[in-house]
């Protein structure tokens, strides 16, 4: 067995031992508050067992291993339905960026360890009503205020802001220069006076995203994590961390086997649905798509193992997998006919087709909409021209609103 296989086996055994306490079945019927409390205990258990901050430096409480072990663990973890979702953003982006860009190392270390233990949660305050895909179009202002800064404006779609202790934020510090150049990156205390969080109910019924309002919120200059005007580069660095996340050829929806199981129980015109050409074609195409993505992922892991940078084709994962999941979920509902009208808003998306279907659109928007992913593939991988951008080079305050 290679080192990674040994690591995988060990991680799997540990996860299996934890599953009865924290896994999908243990979480059934819990309220979100109860689930979050369970999640914090699970995160603490991970920390104690050496599965938190797997690829982070030991100096900040991590395990000092590589991306490979981290992706391996996350991939194994995915099938158990553990409550890791509340920390996904926190430990995925804001906290790693804090490690890299926070000047006050002692304070940083305290925060990182608290986050790794599940005691504190960080959110990512990038998107705004005026700028989602067009991140640099954001309008939240940070103005110099004595030795520090004063923050005013609104963020939106902030995942888990309602439970967050801190956040990382990009704000405009100079509206007189072109949009990318006038941004600065800070961390912010979510409990500071002037911060208001309002949950947004999503189509599927849950409210894990929020609007966040900033009304004369005071920041010290020590909260600044980029040079003044250099915030866009740190924002890009934040998003680049995503290159090393665990992927799921099911698009974070149900596995294909579940569709086959469903088809096995259904008939069409008195014949088993599995004999129907449309169902067979759907299964075959889905299998081929998933097998392709899994092969891409396997090779990416092997490249990491060999100390190489994984190939650009890894960027296809979310684009291809999530929209396929969306269609397959529709098909699964169709297959059940009138029996497919039932809806349980608390069902898990990985085991319920209706929950998977109603929540699928968020996956095609969050973390880069499909169209932006296509732009990135076209421009960065294939060298096709950038879109025409009328706001290019124009001072931000002269761009028509």
């Amino acid at each position: 067995m290679s080192d990674v296989d040994t690591y995988r086996a060990k991680a799997r055994a540990w996860l299996q031992s934890m599953a009865p306490i924290y896994g999908r079945d243990a979480r059934r019927g819990l309220s979100e508050v109860e689930d979050l409390a369970l999640a914090r205990r699970y995160q603490r258990a991970k920390f104690d067992a050496g599965y938190a901050g797997i690829n982070w430096p030991t100096a900040v409480g991590g395990q000092g291993l590589s991306h490979l072990e981290k992706v391996t663990f996350d991939t194994e973890e995915m099938s158990f339905g553990m409550p890791s979702v509340y920390f996904g953003i926190s430990l995925g982006m804001p906290v790693p960026i804090l490690i890299r860009f926070c000047e006050d190392k002692a304070w940083m270390r305290e925060r990182v360890i608290a986050a790794l233990k599940g005691e504190e949660i960080w959110c990512q305050l990038f998107s705004e009503p005026a700028g989602g895909s067009d991140l640099a179009g954001l309008r939240t202002r940070a103005e110099q205020d004595g030795n520090g800064w004063k923050l005013n404006g609104q963020k939106v779609w902030t995942s888990w802001a309602q439970y967050s202790d801190y956040g990382v934020i990009v704000a405009r510090t100079d509206p007189t220069v072109p949009k990318h150049k006038g941004l600065t990156y800070f961390w912010v205390d979510m409990r500071a006076p002037g911060v208001t969080v309002r949950p947004i109910k999503l189509a599927g019924g849950d409210s894990h995203v929020n609007e966040v309002f900033f009304d004369d919120v005071k920041l010290t200059d020590a909260q600044r994590m980029s040079p003044v005007g250099g915030g866009f580069a740190v924002a890009m660095a934040t998003l680049m961390i995503e290159r090393y996340v665990a992927t799921d050829s099911a698009g974070f929806g149900p596995p294909l086997d579940l569709f086959v199981d469903l088809a096995r129980t259904c008939s069409l015109y008195g014949r088993p649905a599995l004999e129907d050409a449309r169902i067979r074609s759907t299964i075959a195409r889905n299998y081929a798509m998933r097998a392709g993505l899994e092969s891409i992922t396997t090779r990416a892991m092997k490249m990491m193992q060999a100390g190489m940078e994984p190939g650009a084709e890894g960027s296809l994962n979310k684009l291809v997998a999530v929209r396929s999941r969306q269609k397959l979920s529709e098909m699964a509902i169709d297959l059940q006919g009138n029996l497919g009208l039932h809806f349980d808003p608390h069902a898990f998306v990985k085991e319920d087709w209706t929950a998977s279907w109603i929540n699928a659109p968020t996956g095609r928007i969050a973390g880069g909409a499909d169209e932006m992913l296509l732009n990135t593939i076209a421009e960065k991988i294939l060298g096709l021209p950038q879109d025409y951008r009328p706001d290019k080079g124009v001072p931000f305050n002269q761009i028509p609103a």
Binding site: Y287, G292, R299, V320, L384
Partner: protein
């Protein structure tokens, strides 16, 4: 069981691409489209000289002892160049069947001749529109074959054929001597594939295997050829992706390169996705040769490579506007090849159903 190519494999990929770039000529290929019974002899000589006919045969029979991964890489280079006299894929298929089920004498007499390119072999499984009928109508008895096979690739020229036949009510694989067969040329949209309807009237043949083991071997051989073809399709699809990209970067309309229009740009990005999925499935399938999952892996490669090649052909022509539909621009070489390769080694219905039967245990 996906792999990273090792240095030797990468060298084969680079070298085969280099050789073909130097020797292939679009005008030569265009001429072949309007001739019957002619194939690209310059390509075929190149293939023999480069040892591609010997690549996947054991050294004991004059081969190079390499495997499906290497053969796939050569096929990919051939696909990119729309090269490929038809013999490479089916020649290997027939040779592998003989290797697996032939007697020692047959192996010793035939395999070295196939490895050296001196003899050409093909595979004739299909009847009607069924790529692998459960019980074929072509009959084998007393050392001779009767009946026929439609649309056999390389059928106009091959010396021997691996034939899917009925032996006393059981399916069987037999090796037929085509010198005695009747060959009727098909006027096809891809003439250099040398398609022919084969007629067997007491044609001498050798039984390799019959009954259930024959079905299992026929499926494995078909899957193997499907994997080689999937590489060829992926090579063609990737070549088209780059042709589309380069054209979109240079052709201007409304004051900008057409690649600046998102409907064009996104279309090309989608093609990239199809090509990479096909490539990934090809690598996985080639590396799964001999594993219990081989049929599934081959089916996935076949389905995604066919989709990739057909779609890149369709969209690349579209992105070229009027020039794309001219004879001279030659994009139709790919369009034609995308369709001929989609049929050879079994159409999509067949592979979808085979895959689902493997996955669920339920037949269509």
């Amino acid at each position: 069981m996906s792999i990273l190519y090792d240095d030797g494999q990468q060298a084969i990929a680079t070298e085969s691409r280099r050789v073909l770039d130097a020797r292939m000529d679009k005008d030569r290929l265009l001429k072949l489209l309007e001739q019957q019974g002619a194939w690209d002899d310059i390509f075929w000589k190149t293939a023999v000289e480069q040892g591609w006919t010997a690549l996947a045969l054991p050294e004991a029979y004059g081969g190079l002892g390499l495997g499906l991964v290497e053969l796939g890489l050569v096929a990919q280079a051939c696909g990119a160049a729309t090269a490929g006299a038809p013999f490479l894929t089916v020649g290997d298929g027939a040779a592998q069947a003989v290797l697996a089920a032939g007697g020692d004498d047959l192996k010793a007499s035939l395999l070295p001749a196939l490895a050296s390119g001196e003899k050409l072999a093909t595979v004739a499984f299909a009847e009607g529109n069924a790529p692998l009928p459960s019980l074929p109508e072509a009959r084998f008895a007393n050392g001779v074959l009767t009946g026929g096979k439609p649309g056999v690739v390389a059928g106009l020229r091959a010396d021997v054929a691996l034939v899917w036949a009925n032996h006393a009510g059981q399916p069987a694989l037999v090796l037929a001597d085509l010198t005695a067969a009747k060959r009727t040329a098909i006027d096809s949209f891809d003439n250099s594939r040398l398609y022919a309807d084969l007629g067997f009237d007491q044609v001498p043949a050798t039984l390799l295997v019959d009954g259930a083991p024959a079905l299992s071997l026929a499926q494995t051989i078909l899957a193997r050829m499907a994997v080689v073809t999937a590489h060829e399709q992926t090579g063609g699809a990737e070549a088209l992706l780059f042709i589309a990209r380069d054209y979109a970067n240079t052709r201007k309309a409304f004051g900008q390169p057409i690649g600046g229009f998102q409907s064009v740009k996104h279309r090309i990005a989608e093609l990239y996705g199809l090509v990479e999925l096909a490539r990934a499935n090809c690598i996985h399938a080639a590396a799964s040769d001999g594993s219990p999952d081989f049929l599934k892996a081959a089916a996935a490669a076949r389905l995604s490579a066919t989709e990739a090649y057909d779609t890149t052909a369709r969209d690349t022509v579209q992105i070229h506007g009027g020039i794309g539909v001219t004879w001279e621009a030659g994009l139709h070489l790919h369009m034609r090849r995308a369709r001929s390769l989609a049929i050879e080694q079994g159409n999509m219905f067949f592979w979808e159903d085979l895959l689902v039967s493997e996955l669920t245990g339920v037949a269509a």
